[in-house]
């Protein structure tokens, strides 16, 4: 593909017909948008254009604009509140990127002049605490820990007391990964939230659900259940530096309307970016050929 330079292709216009519509649908389905949402999004853009002549370039741009339009309403940075410590609880299924995202966020807030404390609420997984301690060191913020196997709710409670004493602006609480169909583990999470509220009724001020971009339609069930049991206030999607497009975010925006605060684009401390609807839409519709 790198050898030789192809002459510029003449712009070919094609009629927007059923065939082309189906190709658009498939492009969206291949991004993990899900069949229903893909059908609706492509039907939207076909409206008023069906039977008209369009170039591939044009139709992709129209598609990107439509996706960006849907996503604009959910692109919001993590809100900061005057209460201190502002408690940020981070939740999600196993391996989605919770711990790494906390490290990255802590570093960003530290750089913005906030005093940050992290609590190592994953008292279950092997070396989860050690992992978070490395991130704490990298970000230059203290990490509060409890021994492996101890109750994460009481760790969260103690961490709130300590963060208060330390006069911290932000307390970020890591939690163990849990699948949303595990009722016992979801109840454990609900308990963490209840205990935090005993200390401060308005906390947790943010509950971030971390989603993995390689996840398919199960993300819908993740958001639904975590929202129900832990009052999720916003989303972060990780691993968008890979080839997964994260199209399920469009279905999620449509169904739940939760804000998307940031995206993970790598394993390094600075690899956390604001969610940009235009970039997201461009990546989603761009690379696949039509």
């Amino acid at each position: 593909r790198l050898t030789g330079r192809k002459p510029a292709k003449p712009v070919v216009k094609r009629e927007l017909d059923d065939d082309m519509l189906e190709q658009l649908e498939e492009l969206l389905i291949a991004s993990d948008m899900g069949v229903d949402t893909a059908l609706r999004v492509s039907a939207n853009i076909a409206e008023g254009r069906f039977g008209k002549k369009v170039s591939t370039q044009e139709i992709k741009q129209i598609l990107a604009d439509e996706v960006a339009r849907i996503m604009e309403t959910v692109a919001k940075p993590l809100p900061l509140y005057p209460q201190t410590p502002q408690v940020v609880l981070v939740v999600g299924v196993n391996g989605s990127g919770k711990t790494t995202t906390i490290g990255k966020l802590a570093s960003q807030f530290k750089e913005a002049g906030k005093s940050v404390v992290i609590a190592a609420g994953d008292t279950f997984r092997a070396a989860a605490v050690e992992q978070l301690q490395v991130w704490g060191d990298r970000a230059g913020v203290p990490v509060l820990t409890a021994p492996e196997g101890s109750d994460p709710a009481s760790l969260a409670f103690d961490a709130m007391t300590k963060a208060q004493e330390m006069g911290a602006d932000l307390l970020m609480i890591d939690t163990a990964g849990r699948l949303q169909n595990r009722q016992d583990l979801m109840e454990e999470l609900a308990k963490i939230v209840r205990v935090i509220r005993k200390k401060d009724e308005s906390a947790p001020h943010n509950t971030l659900l971390v989603l993995d971009a390689t996840t398919g339609q199960n993300a819908l069930s993740q958001v639904e259940t975590f929202q129900k049991l832990a009052d999720v206030s916003g989303l972060v999607m990780t691993k968008l530096d890979g080839t997964a497009k994260g199209g399920v975010l469009v279905a999620l925006a449509d169904k739940f309307g939760l804000p998307i605060h940031a995206i993970g684009v790598g394993e390094k401390i600075d690899d956390l970016a604001p969610f940009d609807p235009k970039d997201f839409a461009q990546a989603l519709t761009g690379s696949d050929s039509l």
């Binding site: 498939e26 389905i29 291949a30 991004s31 993990d32 899900g34 069949v35 299924v93 196993n94 391996g95 989605s96 990127g97 279950f124 997984r125 092997a126 070396a127 989860a128 050690e130 992992q131 301690q133 490395v134 991130w135 990964g177 699948l179 949303q180 169909n181 595990r182 993995d212 390689t214 996840t215 398919g216 339609q217 199960n218 819908l220 069930s221 639904e224 691993k239 530096d241 890979g242 080839t243 997964a244 497009k245 199209g247 399920v248 394993e267």
Partner: protein
């Protein structure tokens, strides 16, 4: 959340219960629903497309059994084909090639897919079920505390881990593992690697170098059972560049439909050997195609029903 396939098809076929054979048109209508069901289960688009084509050929003209509806009949055909593709011709999915001690097993996959956990689970299984002496080594020099994680798991399950030496490269660690496994009289040595994207050329090269040093008897691609459309690309790239011998599908204790299983199997032709069913060290089972087939279609009972009829 999703309608299962038999519900979808019962709608389609309500009007034609008395016909003798499935007509072309019936089959086509039904297969549109099958395609949607597969896509909702996260089967990758090109795989779903090929699969539907294969079923179409099998279904057209088949006689309809009197006591079941055409919808149920199609479900049965789809289910059988699905099971057929998933099973392949692999008789013993739970068997690993571990002759010629020390046999190296290489674990690879994307970030967070479950490699380290699965390494521990497999080591435990090899030790307890096969009576093997196993050595585990972490080649993950990148993720914070990755090596400690494997070390802790080793202590939990009573399996030795290669001592951690700071500053070595993945290849150097692999060489040391091979040496220690040989000198120490181990039957198997397992190499847990860092998570990597299939498009990361540097890291893919690293694992190719490791492969060339140890010549693994098994190279297992560890894949999250909740994976969506990207499964095909991941399978193609890892198999193409490293050459895998099988797949471990994790997080099947979740409520995901597991369409990635079909994508993996169809693209690589390599067997799915094990499924991960939890975080604990004994939460590993051998792959059972019939169970996954029913799950991808979002149903279990219908097949038994058709079988009885």
């Amino acid at each position: 959340m999703f309608e299962n396939l038999s519900e979808r098809l019962s709608g389609v076929f309500d009007r034609l219960t008395k016909q003798g054979a499935l007509s072309d048109e019936d089959v086509k209508t039904a297969l549109r629903e099958v395609r949607v069901a597969l896509l909702e289960a996260d089967v990758s688009l090109p795989v779903a497309r090929d699969f539907v084509k294969a079923v179409q050929e099998k279904a057209t003209g088949q006689a309809v059994t009197k006591s079941v509806t055409p919808g149920q009949q199609v479900v049965k055909i789809v289910h059988d084909e699905l099971q057929h593709v998933l099973a392949g011709d692999d008789d013993n999915p739970g068997e690993l090639k571990i002759d010629n001690a020390p046999a190296p097993i290489l674990m690879v996959g994307l970030q967070g897919s479950g490699k380290t956990t699965s390494t521990g689970k497999l080591a435990k299984r090899l030790k307890e079920k096969n009576g093997k002496r196993v050595l585990m080594a972490s080649l993950d020099i990148y993720r914070p505390a990755a090596m400690q994680q494997l070390e802790i798991l080793g202590t939990q399950i009573g399996v030795d881990t290669l001592p951690i030496v700071a500053g070595e490269s993945a290849v150097q660690i692999a060489k040391r593992a091979k040496q220690q496994a040989t000198l120490g009289g181990y039957d198997v040595y397992m190499l847990d690697t860092a998570g990597r994207l299939q498009i990361d050329e540097t890291l893919m090269q690293e694992v190719e170098d490791v492969r060339d040093v140890v010549n693994p008897r098994e190279t297992l691609l560890v894949v999250d059972g909740l994976t969506g459309q990207v499964a095909v690309e991941v399978a193609e790239e890892f198999d193409g560049k490293i050459g895998i011998s099988g797949v471990v599908l994790t997080r099947m204790d979740g409520d995901g439909r597991g369409g990635a299983a079909l994508s993996m199997r169809a693209v690589t032709g390599k067997p799915i050997k094990f499924v991960g069913l939890g975080e604990k060290m004994d939460a590993l089972e051998t792959f059972e195609p019939e169970r996954i087939a029913g799950r991808i279609l979002g149903m279990g009972d219908i097949v038994a029903l058709v079988e009885k009829a």
